[in-house]
Symmetry: C2
Subunit: 429 residues, 2 copies
């Protein structure tokens, strides 16, 4: 953990280092991923069989080795205890409601020149969702990826997920049932992403791929950007908590640890105007983390990437927050409004003392797939727009072309494109 | 040029080959670009000086070697002949009006559970626009990239453009004046894109990079996706004209050539239900193209990539158009409505006999930066959204947390994330 004061002589330099430190995967992964993708593209299912055997010790032979049916998902859902089923359902309902209001409106109008103009939004035909296996097999993540796609109107939703030694996570299947997933393929890794992008004998190709994964999965998506649409290059999770001294240090410690327990590369940052409070939080982190089942991950993340910054006044935190452009920002202060107004770059903002980031992970409604690694400067959380695209349209009659066509002819000629000019001229003769 | 009939025995196979043929840059470029980007990142301006000398024979030494001032842009604008100035201004005004209506609305509401939820859109701080030099130095392209950024509210707009042997294009400078560009840097190529993404001594880094360029520029943008936001991986331009036999073949020939004259890799496709008409169009293409100043490019594009498909009924063209997912689609038919309704994948659609694609390139208003290479299946033309990002926000008081928090605790425990659960539990004690 690094401890900084805004009054340190070398504060600017140290803070710059924190901002620049992206904690991304190295380029050694890039070469391996490129080779896997080439292989999947040329040899299809055979490569999936080989790599699934090697990485997951799972043999893809019969249909049930390859995929999990909607019936199995329903059975998993029915088998959950009531409390968990209700919790999943509440989460799904709230996520759906929030995302339904994101649906964009079409435009269609005729302007003063007589030109009909507009834009029409439509869903992509098919989307693929990556769902990690093992520790990071989160049903909440499946809901957060699948529901916006369904709300957008995507007809075919295919999940790929590794099932190491054949093990499946019933909670993930239950979430797939709630979300209405059409296909679940028992493959993971960069090769599964390649299969979704290029298609194989078994798996038909999709148009958009979303969902979290390890460094190989993230790199595969990055390399396939343009072949398919992808949601985002995602890095390790981050939280920035801005807190005054009147918080319960236990609450703030838990918030910082909730991010740290995700991943040893995750980053938790506290900015406060109260140095004594910052030491209390540090103590509570030590105590709490020692009791967590996720202790080793949380402690490693906090040790390696945790940061506490003490400022003179909370107003100074605005500029720092905008430099950090963090995935999650909590405003645990008496009057959050001035901070909220000043923050330009953040994935999601949690306002007030009773808004721990964890509610946003599950049940608040907004998407928990958010830009990491300072990408909130230029990108947004996952939304229905990631599963839709817009076609513009233009209709003219002869009068409308006569009104605006001559200007286009002038510009086409000036740009040295005579066929452009002729295509308009010939219609105005 | 390839000529197909939907009744050919091997039609499906031939059509598939046309769909799959992406005409993209090879991966040999990828390695060179990666090395240039690494170099720019570590050595900054020195690399720009070296490569600008090598590729553009332009020496970057004094300030005026490096950049073009807003004053010079204004002088270029004032120096244009009135007709051209008015045409540029009409184009800018119409583009601005269309894009202003794209500005997204913020959301801020409190739901039944007492949870305040919302989304706030804000512009990125800075955007960089690539403007090609030489043949493809199009002022229209500068307007189409810069105006949406300005409408979005971007404070700093930096253009990079190569000026081979020091030559600048007055029309591009005039467009920069109209669009309100803040900085113009006289560098081009992958190194210029790298400078925008990473920043150098002279050029401050930006958050989003848009604009067309050659294969090196496109590959640089692709590799930098995630370091900055980019608009799109752009390939050669395409048009699909769906035309019945009642069109003037001269008009349709000019439309096909207007795409072909852009680039030897551009693709023009005609689908018609009238074989005799298709032969007339072919003849008119031969005659017209031989008279064009852009003859060599247009003829090569048409020879290598042109396609004519004859169908039995125009309704069959809908499925073909959706497979092709072309950048531009013209519907030059008696009743365009059924075709328009059926087309799901297209960058921009031009409706009716008096809507040649060239009006969309300049003055119609919608953006002419559109998805190519079948990417209209999953992506959209450039818009103000490419220069903005959305932060979600969540505010709860104790009662609201009591309403939805317990479900989040259940899910966090089921996912094995105890600090998540504790961050909520400790607030509900």
């Amino acid at each position: 953990m690094r401890s900084l004061s805004i009054n340190d002589a070398d504060f600017a330099q140290k803070f710059r280092r924190i901002v620049e430190d992206r904690r991304e995967s190295g380029s050694d992964v890039a070469g391996q991923v490129a080779s896997i993708l080439r292989d999947v593209r040329s040899r299809g299912d055979d490569v999936l069989v080989e790599l699934t055997q090697r990485f997951d010790q799972h043999t893809l032979s019969s249909d049930s080795d390859w995929s999990i049916t909607p019936g199995e998902c329903k059975a998993a859902f029915d088998g959950l205890d009531t409390g968990l089923r209700d919790a999943l359902q509440l989460a799904a309902d709230r996520i759906r409601t929030y995302h339904e209001a994101q649906l964009p409106e079409d435009r269609d109008y005729t302007d003063d020149a007589g030109v009909r103009l507009g834009a029409r939004w439509q869903a992509v035909d098919a989307a693929g969702l990556y769902v990690p296996g093992g520790r990071a097999a989160y049903p909440s993540s499946l809901l957060m990826n699948a529901i916006p796609a369904k709300v957008a109107g995507v007809k075919r939703l295919a999940v790929v997920t590794p099932t190491p030694k054949g093990a499946v996570n019933p909670l993930v299947l239950a979430a797939a049932h709630i979300a209405g997933i059409d296909e679940i393929w028992r493959v993971g890794g960069a090769h599964a992403v390649g299969a979704l992008a290029y298609g194989t004998g078994r798996i038909k190709r999709v148009d958009v791929i979303t969902g979290p994964g390890n460094a190989f999965v993230a790199e595969a998506k990055r390399q396939l950007f343009g072949v398919v649409g992808i949601d985002m290059v995602a890095g390790p999770s981050e939280i920035l908590v801005i807190a005054d001294g009147n918080n319960d240090p236990d609450w703030i410690a838990a918030d910082l640890l909730s991010q740290a327990e995700h991943d040893p590369s995750a980053q938790s940052i506290l900015i406060t105007d109260d140095e004594a409070f910052s030491r209390q939080v540090e103590d509570r982190i030590d105590v709490q983390s020692s009791m967590l089942a996720t202790k080793s991950v949380a402690q490693k993340s906090w040790q390696d990437h945790g940061v506490i910054i003490v400022v003179d006044e909370l107003a100074q935190s605005i500029a720092l927050a905008n430099e950090l452009a963090a995935e999650h920002v909590e405003l645990a202060v008496e009057d959050p409004s001035p901070l909220f107004d000043g923050i330009r770059h953040a994935g999601s903002i949690f306002i007030g003392r009773h808004a721990p980031e964890a509610v946003g992970d599950y049940v608040a409604g907004p998407n928990h797939v958010l830009p990491t690694g300072r990408r909130a400067r230029f990108s947004s959380g996952l939304s229905v727009l990631d599963f839709m695209k817009r076609s513009s349209f233009i209709e003219l009659d002869e009068a409308a072309l006569r009104a605006i066509g001559p200007a286009a002819i002038s510009l086409a000629e000036a740009e040295g494109l005579p066929a452009h000019a002729k295509s308009i001229e010939s219609r105005l003769k």
